[in-house]
């Protein structure tokens, strides 16, 4: 039996562990209720004086349910998604270390690189699932509450529903990819400790600190490299001419964070003493 098959067996086991865990399921369900609640609030207040108010794309939701996807993602980006990423990636290695299962996994044996890769893929899958849970629930709630319509872009021009759905899917994919850097950061923290909560908290703090630094004009020079700086660039998908350069830059920054923190995680984890 080949190594690759063996690897995918472990990955399947890991995925069923991550997605079978009650805490994680609760987290996904919790995230999915955000668009539902947002949709209901907007639906109830759409005839009132508050109609059309609110941050981001909220004002457009009552006209076209498709915008509930964008609004929900905007709502979840500052805290709920980083929290989700923190929990999934911070737990990856530290959780096994705390439970003591790490030493048994390594004694099976599984190479440390493989443990790290499998853990990273599972954490990324969970991040993807989190974004998908928000986006799909938003799409469903938006369609039911407000109906779906041709999409009016930022410039005011309109594209047909089919293309609109594609553009919104692009938004969701970009948001998902924007989280990869934070996954790598969380994975690195997870190799440093046997206390998963510590790694989770540190990961969330990184996202929040990055967002705070991003608001300080004195630090404008470092803004383009910040983990969260390009998170809202998904708005490109809502322009008539999508500027792929802007999107590419955002993804390149994430790629750099991933490269740096994945390397740190790898060099730390492959040399650390497992005394848990």
């Amino acid at each position: 039996m080949s190594r690759a098959e063996g690897g995918s067996r472990l990955l399947r086991s890991e995925l069923s562990l991550v997605f079978g865990r009650r805490r994680n399921i609760t987290l996904l369900v919790g995230l999915a209720t955000v668009p539902l609640l947002l949709g209901i609030v907007l639906f109830v207040t759409q005839d009132s004086a508050l109609a059309g108010q609110g941050p981001g794309f909220v004002g457009r939701v009552t006209g076209n349910g498709l915008f509930l996807v964008v609004s929900s993602l905007v709502m979840c980006l500052p805290f709920l998604l980083p929290l989700t990423i923190g929990i999934a990636s911070g737990d990856a290695i530290a959780g096994e270390a705390q439970a003591g299962t790490l030493r048994y996994l390594l004694a099976v044996p599984v190479s440390r690189t493989r443990v790290l890769v499998v853990k990273a893929v599972a954490a990324l899958a969970f991040a993807g699932a989190a974004v998908a849970a928000i986006a799909l629930m938003a799409l469903l709630s938006g369609a039911v509450l407000f109906g779906l319509d041709d999409v009016t872009l930022l410039s005011g021009s309109t594209v047909p529903l089919g293309e609109g759905v594609l553009r919104i899917a692009g938004v969701a994919v970009y948001v998902g990819l924007s989280l990869t850097g934070l996954v790598a950061v969380g994975l690195f923290f997870s190799t440093l400790t046997e206390v998963p909560v510590g790694a989770m908290a540190a990961t969330v703090v990184v996202a929040i600190v990055s967002a705070v630094l991003d608001t300080l004009p004195q630090l404008a020079a470092i803004h383009p490299g910040l983990l969260t700086h390009h998170w809202l660039d998904f708005a490109e998908f809502l322009r008539l001419e999508v500027d792929w350069g802007v999107l590419g830059e955002g993804l390149a920054v994430q790629g750099a964070w991933v490269a740096i923190f994945a390397s740190l995680a790898w060099s730390r984890f492959t040399t650390a003493d497992v005394t848990s």
Binding site: G6, S13, A99, R103, L106, A107, P109, V110, D273
Partner: protein
């Protein structure tokens, strides 16, 4: 002579705290042996085992498992090694069986078609079949320990490294583990078993290594070890005959007689126990009981270290 199943040369671990947990030990576990790795709490047994398995990096020295250097050879040799390190550890929300399946899934060399059969057989073997579908979280201490053993037995192994396998088990469970070790050894598996309870595994071991404060004080065949100590003779008689008995024994050349109620204990030296028996009976001492004793491992340990079997630091 076949090469040893486990070997180390100058194996040393100094933790970042500065503590030298293992201090240049030369372990040699012969193929087919049951090696009792004994030592008080904190003497470095678990740290040694972690280094043997590649979990902890030695500060100095080398180690080999089934002739493969560790940790480099771990990928090829560890599938042949069943381990229990510092107590069992499993995912609390998975059942016993699902936990075994998880470990088996991690093993790239295991055949997934036989996972169920092998894990059921392992659970059966450790007497856990009835609790196979219970979440690990609900297991009792002894059940957890048994699941740990089942994981070590998930595949046929050439070597078992069991750190404190009887920890948390009831007397019946302890007996079962001894029996299991005996059975596995009889089938040709080498067993390295650690314990801080000397008496608990003493009886199944063919070889013994004794750790104290990071050093391997002695290692040898168990019989050779116990023969190192002075044998003693314990004579039980009537209380009013202990005086005569003492005189007879002293005349024969037995040393340091100690009287305790109706018992006289003296070191045998080179005197055969049967000679002493004949002399006692000849002198009219009513012998109620007579026993030639080898020192226990515990006594041996005390003579080796000059200390009790307690945590040293």
């Amino acid at each position: 002579m076949t090469p040893p199943a486990v070997r180390s040369a100058g194996l040393t671990k100094r933790f970042r705290s500065g503590q030298v947990a293992v201090d240049g030990i030369e372990l040699e576990v012969p193929r087919g042996s049951v090696y009792g790795f004994l030592g008080p709490n904190g003497s470095g047994k678990t740290t040694t085992i972690r280094m043997l398995l590649g979990l902890v990096r030695p500060t100095a020295g080398r180690a080999w498992l089934l002739e493969e250097p560790m940790p480099e050879g771990g990928g090829s040799v560890l599938p042949r090694v069943g381990v229990l390190v510092e107590g069992p550890a499993f995912h609390p929300y998975l059942t016993g069986r699902a936990n075994l399946a998880r470990l088996d899934a991690a093993d790239a060399t295991a055949d997934p078609r036989t996972t169920r059969r092998r894990s059921d057989a392992a659970l059966e073997r450790v007497g856990l079949a009835a609790a196979a579908a219970k979440p690990f979280r609900q297991y009792s201490l002894g059940m957890k320990q048994r699941l740990g053993l089942a994981a070590a037995l998930l595949r046929p192994r050439d070597l078992l490294v069991l750190d404190e396998p009887t920890n948390g088990l009831d007397p019946q469970g302890t007996r079962e583990v001894r029996h299991l070790i005996r059975e596995l050894a009889d089938a040709g598996t080498t067993v390295l078993v650690s314990s801080h309870l000397l008496a608990e595994i003493d009886q199944v071991c063919s070889h013994i290594g004794i750790m104290s404060q990071g050093k391997l004080l002695v290692q040898d065949e168990r019989l050779a070890l116990t023969e190192r100590g002075e044998p003693t003779l314990v004579v039980r008689t009537a209380v009013d005959h202990v005086g005569t008995a003492t005189e007879v024994l002293t005349a024969l050349g037995l040393g340091a007689p100690v009287v305790d109620g109706p018992e006289v204990t003296a070191s045998l030296g080179s005197v055969a126990p049967e000679t002493a028996t004949a002399a006692l009976v000849g002198a009219g001492v009513p012998v109620v009981g007579l026993e030639a004793r080898r020192p226990s491992l515990e006594q041996l340990f005390v003579t080796l270290t000059g200390e009790g079997f307690d945590v040293a630091r």
